[in-house]
């Protein structure tokens, strides 16, 4: 809570078990008691869900103005009042007996399968049965039994016998995620959580229900029966999947990550995360992981090599050569800094870019100015009078940002406007006003936006660079309205890489390369005479130069060439490739030297989330022999004779902190013009696309249970196009370019007639690989 919010709230003093406690008005008794260190047992209560009062475990005696309630009250439903006296189980025999009675009821139908239950050892029911239960049951009857388990989705399994019907999961799905796909069915002791027959629990946030289940009723399919909580070593971590910045917890047993949970951070993800962040970690222990350096031999094959061998070979190949560096969007702040320093100091070039995706010069200028200086946070969303989404689908591209907006939509009907091809399910849940655009025409739509104030929040996705002039229109809009900007890339490393100068036009700390004073600043800190002044190349330019033999070598770190373009891999074939990778990939397959690096759980470091907020994490797996990129770069630089002196993550972090941020003259934005609208013939449309949260992304590999809840790909068209094609909802249509075609079921939705939309990287719908484009270009659309 911000200090300003605190002063507005009236404070109330109550007496609980004889102790006075002062809390803000509206605080529930159970929460006020916590403040005194008095733990009232509970199941259905959850601080982020609306009170239910269903389990009745938290009964206490309450008296207001000397008048006692005739019966004990659920402390999770009653806010404190002045002159209230509360007696919990500690001082009221009635409350104590009531609580023991409820616990006995909860246990009569609960199976005694704790020894095989995932929750055993970290189970609120188990713990509170110890504190509030009786040693032996008085129940001599027949326990309720159900078939177990029931799969309510591919990743969540329901054991109805264990369920205490607290309704946390159903309330979470309805109130927090907006996916009311699970409900309570039946009644009495046969009441149970259920799904609609034809609509399984396909929510991007379903894993949270497993985490907040106070018993072992909901379990994750991938973790079920794998481990006991007391065998796990837990490490607070940061999620590497997107720029939302979730705090997470990594649970490791004997060097292997067995599960990840949402961590708590009230400023960022509260207590939630998305299913990708929770369950997409099998890539960490994939058989494709690389354990030793690899050198391509005379036979054209990769062979295992020792570190000195591999470093010597790489050093020889790079020393004194023209080299470009592709950093990728998943580097930590420290690793990105090391690449930046390595490029400038050791390679003597500005040819470095973290953008392993579509990009433009307009974007580079936007990033070095507006994005770099954006100070917008989650709290600004909480207080916004309007949220505008530009080239950004929060549910798919930054799921916790979605939850934060959704919270305000639920709470106070926050107005949301989206400039997009169509209203996605996320936009529908946000009740967003759709401004439908044909890809390429975003600039005009953005310029036409009205009614923004300094309390409005404009969230720009990285994809907006795909529409020429759109980012320029954003800059104009911000200047006109004083609205707040949030630039939200998809990947966790991009904001940090920008800050670290892993891009041609910036040095670390946001220093413009073009500014001599900034160069002097950094050169002095790095102890070198000067830094390269030649304008650097972007990702596409590096690839083109490599292909044209204008570069001798390219350092490629954690990049999937198909994220950039269909030609990217081919463009690397003519050059020397040094690959920094965690696992075998398309790049390692053509690389000359492969240097294995540590994956997220094997190293320390930090990300900057979209707000620019540091998300530091430490090693979850102590036993790992792999090293962070910066350590290897440091060894390589030493081998090449121009050291960068970054021996450890901690040392690098210290150097970054010492260097600080640029306080000199800021770069100014160079606007770009938008392209003219494309002319369409009959049977043609302009393609739009984005990546769905769950798709064929590399980091989601090896987790079929997660993939099972991915939304199926469709080809979205308008009603009038459907009519002219003569297709009905669900009938197949084919979208083609000269390169290839994609055939999918049509989904008819409100969108511009000139538009067709495809998922960018889903099963059966990979626009870059198949069509060679991401959007903004003409495709043909025909009935299949």
């Amino acid at each position: 809570m911000t200090p300003e919010a605190l002063t507005e709230v009236e404070m109330i003093t109550v007496v609980i078990d004889g102790f006075e406690v002062t809390v803000p008005k509206g605080t529930l008794i159970i929460r006020a008691a916590e403040k005194l260190g008095i733990q009232i047992p509970r199941f259905c209560d959850h601080p982020l869900l609306a009170p239910a009062g269903a389990c009745r475990q938290c009964l206490v005696d309450v008296e207001i103005n000397g008048r006692a309630f005739p019966k004990p009250q659920a402390s999770c439903t009653i806010p404190v009042e002045n002159n209230m006296i509360v007696k919990t189980q500690l001082t009221s025999p009635v409350a104590e007996k009531a609580q023991k009675g409820i616990m006995e009821f909860l246990l009569i139908n609960h199976p005694l399968d704790c020894p095989v239950c995932d929750k055993g050892g970290e189970c609120p029911l188990q713990n509170q049965a110890m504190s509030t239960g009786r040693g032996e049951s008085r129940y001599e009857g027949v326990k309720r039994t159900f078939e177990k388990p029931v799969a309510i989705s591919t990743q969540v399994l329901l054991d109805r016998e264990r369920c205490v019907l607290c309704a946390r999961c159903t309330r979470f799905s309805d109130q927090i995620a907006g996916d009311p796909f699970i409900t309570l069915n039946e009644r009495g002791a046969l009441q149970q959580v259920g799904i609609y027959e034809k609509d399984p629990f396909e929510s991007y946030y379903s894993g949270n229900t497993v985490q907040i289940c106070p018993v072992g009723a909901l379990t994750g399919a991938s973790y079920r029966f794998r481990s006991r909580p007391f065998d796990l070593v837990s490490t607070p971590s940061a999620c590497e999947h997107c720029a939302s910045g979730c705090a997470i917890r990594t649970d490791v047993r004997r060097g292997k990550t067995l599960r990840r949970l949402a961590g708590e951070d009230a400023s960022v993800n509260e207590e939630w995360n998305c299913d990708k962040g929770r369950w997409a970690f099998k890539y960490l222990s994939s058989k494709e992981r690389i354990a030793t350096p690899l050198l391509r031999g005379a036979d054209g094959e990769l062979h295992e090599a020792s570190w000195p061998e591999a470093l010597a070979a790489a050093a020889t190949a790079l020393k004194g050569k023209r080299v470009g560096v592709l950093v990728g969007g998943r580097a930590t702040v420290e690793d990105a800094y090391a690449y930046s320093k390595f490029a400038r100091v050791t390679l003597g070039t500005n040819d470095i870019d973290f953008r392993a995706r579509s990009h433009s010069d307009e974007e580079a200028s936007f990033l070095a100015t507006a994005a770099l200086n954006a100070k917008t946070t989650y709290f600004d969303i909480d207080k916004a009078d309007k949220v505008v989404l530009l080239g950004f689908e929060p549910e798919d591209e930054s799921p916790i940002v979605f939850l934060r907006i959704f919270k305000q939509v639920k709470k106070r009907a926050l107005s949301v406007v989206t400039v997009a091809a169509f209203a996605s399910r996320g936009s529908q849940k946000l009740k967003a006003t759709l401004i439908p655009v044909v890809a390429g025409n975003e600039a005009a739509a953005i310029s036409a936006l009205e009614g923004l104030t300094e309390k409005s929040v404009v969230l720009v996705g990285e994809r907006l660079n795909e529409s020429a002039g759109a980012l320029s229109a954003v800059v104009e809009l911000l200047a006109k309205s004083n609205a707040k900007l949030g630039w939200i890339p998809r990947r966790s490393g991009e904001r940090g890489a920008l800050q670290s100068g892993a891009i041609a036009n910036l040095l670390p700390g946001g220093r413009p390369v073009s500014d001599p004073a900034a160069r002097v600043d950094v050169a002095a800190a790095w102890g070198v005479e000067s830094l390269p002044t030649t304008a650097g190349k972007s990702t596409a330019e590096i690839l083109a130069a490599a292909s044209a033999k204008e570069l001798d070598a390219v350092v490629v770190a954690g990049v999937d060439p198909l994220d950039i373009s269909a030609e990217a891999l081919t463009q690397l074939l003519n050059t020397y490739v040094l690959s920094f990778e965690i696992a075998h990939s398309a790049v390692t397959a053509i690389a000359d030297v492969v240097l294995p690096v540590a994956a997220i759980t094997e190293k320390s470091g930090s990300f900057l989330d979209w707000e620019g907020r540091p998300r530091a994490f430490t090693k979850a797996i102590e036993e790992s022999l792999t090293r962070s990129d910066l350590r290897i770069l440091s060894m390589l630089a030493y081998e090449m004779g121009t050291p960068i002196n970054l021996p450890s993550v901690a040392a690098t972090a210290r150097e970054i902190a010492a260097l600080g941020n640029w306080d000199g003259a800021k770069a100014s934005f160079t606007p770009a013009k938008s392209n003219k609208s494309l002319k369409l013939a009959a049977g043609e449309a302009v393609l739009s696309s984005w990546r769905l949260l769950l798709d064929l992304g590399t980091l989601q590999a090896g987790e079929p249970n997660l993939a099972g809840t991915a939304r199926p790909a469709t080809a979205n068209i308008s009603q009038s196009r459907a009519d002219s094609l003569g297709v009905a909802e669900g009938e197949a249509i084919t979208v083609s370019t000269a390169r290839g075609s994609i055939t999918l079921p049509a989904h008819i939705t409100a969108m511009a007639d000139g538009s067709v939309w495809l998922a960018r990287n889903s099963d059966g719908s990979q626009t870059i690989a198949t069509l060679g484009i991401v959007g903004g270009e003409v495709v043909s659309v025909v009935k299949a």
Partner: protein, 434 residues
């Protein structure tokens, strides 16, 4: 027959009593004209002055409930009539709606006018198809005659009346569960506050009243508050429907002033069935603690019954003679509550599940005196611990039967089974058998 005060039931014996013609023949829809010429607040005041209290069981003053609706709030207001009569033994609203549906409709118009509602709903239980059809027909008649819809009887007041048929759940008689069900959700009680008067149906200010309460309103408008409050006792004013069922010679509905005793009602009903004696009875349906012959002279008004340790409830007097096994009767009721528990809260859901198993054992003669203590202790953990009053209702018959008939429970345990012949308690049993 001096004790009877037939108002609602005055013309039930006429063959066409349920038609609009018959209703009008006896002055029906006259009260509406009178009420629509009054200020809405004056109608509320009149009902307050009459002392009418809710006839659905809790006895909350009806006029006061109407007065809780915030006025001038620019929100829609709703009147919801609770016709989900499902309590074992309770049989007053259904006969009333069968024989005289128009009195309810007239009461609805007046009540809706008083609370400034433009929509009213009747939530009726789904099993009573014949009553549903009569009510549907009556509503259609009322619309056709201009008593419902736009500009009612030319007085410039609009009201739409919707009959909603429930799917047969006892919990939907609980007013907030009823509202959830009416909104299309599964019927489960809502957390209060907010109370329905502030945020009820569709989160709008809502009055939920029992059929009989609303049906009593036209007579108050016609005859005045003094006429109404002249009947009954000091704090329980007016007339009401008492429903006698079970082992009585002439079961049925008896409309009498509040405060009549069972002894007087039994006289009117021809006494206990021939050859038998009263053993126990419920004053207001199965969820009110039972009484015995020692309570024959308890005044059947809100205060009198409460002082004697029970509740007036719905004035459903289920009468049992000496052929009835108390354990069996209590088990049947408990099975009902287990079946009807909505499942939302733990003590009701799990408690009733357990109670049935204990009582089945006891009826079969399995157990010891310690099991009776356990039963009482389990009941103590249910009573006053649940989300709504359903579980309290389930606990009442057990506690009260053990209070009066503990010996009979023990008899089951010592003889190893039920000492009663279940056939003897049926209506088709030969008089005097056993």
């Amino acid at each position: 027959m001096t004790k009877l005060t037939p108002v609602l039931s005055a013309h039930w014996d006429e063959a066409d009593s349920f038609t609009i013609g018959a209703y009008k023949r006896h002055g029906g829809y006259g009260a509406v004209v009178k009420a629509l010429e009054m200020e809405p607040d004056a109608v509320i005041q009149l009902v307050k002055d009459s002392g009418l209290r809710g006839r659905g069981g809790a006895g909350f003053p009806t006029g006061m409930k109407w007065g809780f609706i915030p006025q001038g709030d620019n929100k829609d207001h709703y009147l919801v009539v609770n016709a989900d009569e499902s309590e074992p033994g309770t049989c007053k609203d259904m006969p009333l709606l069968m024989a005289n549906p128009h009195v309810l409709i007239e009461g609805i118009i007046i009540a809706s006018y008083a609370i400034r509602a433009g929509y009213a709903f009747i939530y009726i239980r789904g099993e009573v198809t014949h009553v549903v059809r009569r009510l549907q027909a009556a509503i259609a008649e009322a619309y056709a005659a201009g008593h419902l819809g736009k500009n009612i009887q030319g007085k410039g007041y609009d009201l739409e009346l919707v009959l909603h048929v429930g799917a047969g759940a006892y919990i939907c008689g609980e007013e907030t569960a009823l509202l959830d069900s009416l909104e299309g959700f599964r019927g489960q009680p809502r957390l209060r506050p907010p109370f329905p008067a502030i945020a009820g149906l569709y989160a709008k200010p809502t009055v939920v009243n029992n059929v009989e309460s609303i049906s009593s309103v036209p007579s108050i408008i016609n005859n005045g508050a003094e006429w109404f409050s002249a009947m009954g006792t000091e704090k329980s004013k007016g007339y009401t429907l008492y429903s006698l069922s079970g082992h009585v010679a002439n079961p049925g509905q008896f409309e009498a002033p509040l405060g009549i005793t069972l002894r007087e009602l039994l006289e009117l009903a021809g006494g206990i069935r021939p050859g038998h004696q009263l053993k126990f009875w419920t004053p207001g349906g199965s969820s009110t603690p039972i009484f015995t012959a020692e309570h024959l002279d308890v005044a059947l008004d809100y205060e009198g019954v409460s002082a004697a340790g029970s509740m007036l409830g719905t004035k459903a007097l289920q009468v049992f003679d000496e052929t009835t096994c108390i354990v069996r009767a209590v088990l049947r009721w408990t099975e009902f509550y287990k079946h009807e528990s909505c499942g939302k809260c733990t003590p009701c859901r799990e408690g009733t599940w357990w109670l049935v198993q204990i009582l089945r054992d006891l009826e079969a003669g399995i157990g010891t005196a310690a099991d009776l203590d356990k039963l009482l202790d389990v009941v103590d953990n249910i009573m006053g611990r649940s989300f709504c009053a359903l579980a309290d209702g389930a606990a009442s018959p057990i506690i009260s039967s053990l209070k009066y008939f503990r010996e009979e429970y023990m008899q089951h345990l010592t003889t190893g089974g039920c000492p009663f012949d279940p056939v003897a308690s049926t209506v088709f049993a030969t008089a005097g058998s056993r």
